[in-house]
Symmetry: C2
Subunit: 120 residues, 2 copies
């Protein structure tokens, strides 16, 4: 239990801040927890903040891409914030295009962007 | 590293959501991390959300009381949100009065309360 990532709910939005490298099991637990919480809270948006992450491996990148697609299927918009250069490089090199996802510089901007998108 | 509690920064405020029982080491790491982050970000407020916690032991209760006092010394206001009945009972029975601290029902209310207090 202790190695799970906390998911915060703020109004209509779930906020997740990933602040250290995930191992594979944590990444899968995170995916499951987030989707369950989307279902139980009926949240309409998700902000995933990667500000503190300066490296992701291919498995984590894939899980991240999957989480975004799955959240979209469940009707939630996802904004990823704080993508650092090395993370951006990894995502593109692995072919994870994050096409349906918005990005923003930091958590504040991400929440604002999400609120604007949900209003539309 | 993996057992640390993520601390989010949103505008002037640090947000911490404690979603499972802490062991003693995690509680001490949390105390240290929060004070360091207060220092490095110059945040003026802290919201500690305990919504998912239905039990705290005496050591964790003491650490929590200490964190609140220490944050106050560093010039930050603390709001605790989502205190459940059993947690309230433990805190009072242990003589941890949380006199200088505001409380609120949930994260949204806690952030609003903090913003109002910081404006005063």
């Amino acid at each position: 239990m202790r190695t799970r990532i906390p998911i915060l709910k703020l109004r209509d939005t779930l906020i997740v801040s990933i602040q250290w490298e995930l191992d594979d099991q944590m990444a899968l637990s995170f995916q499951e927890d987030l989707l369950n919480k989307l279902h139980s809270t009926a949240a309409r948006g998700v902000v995933i903040d990667l500000t503190s992450i300066d490296f992701i491996d291919s498995f984590i990148a894939k899980v991240l891409g999957d989480v975004i697609s799955m959240s979209g299927l469940m009707g939630a918009k996802v904004v990823i914030t704080g993508i650092q250069p090395a993370v951006a490089i990894t995502l593109i090199e692995l072919g994870i295009r994050l096409e349906d996802v918005s990005t923003a510089l930091d958590l504040e901007n991400g929440l604002e962007k999400l609120e604007r998108e949900l209003e539309d």
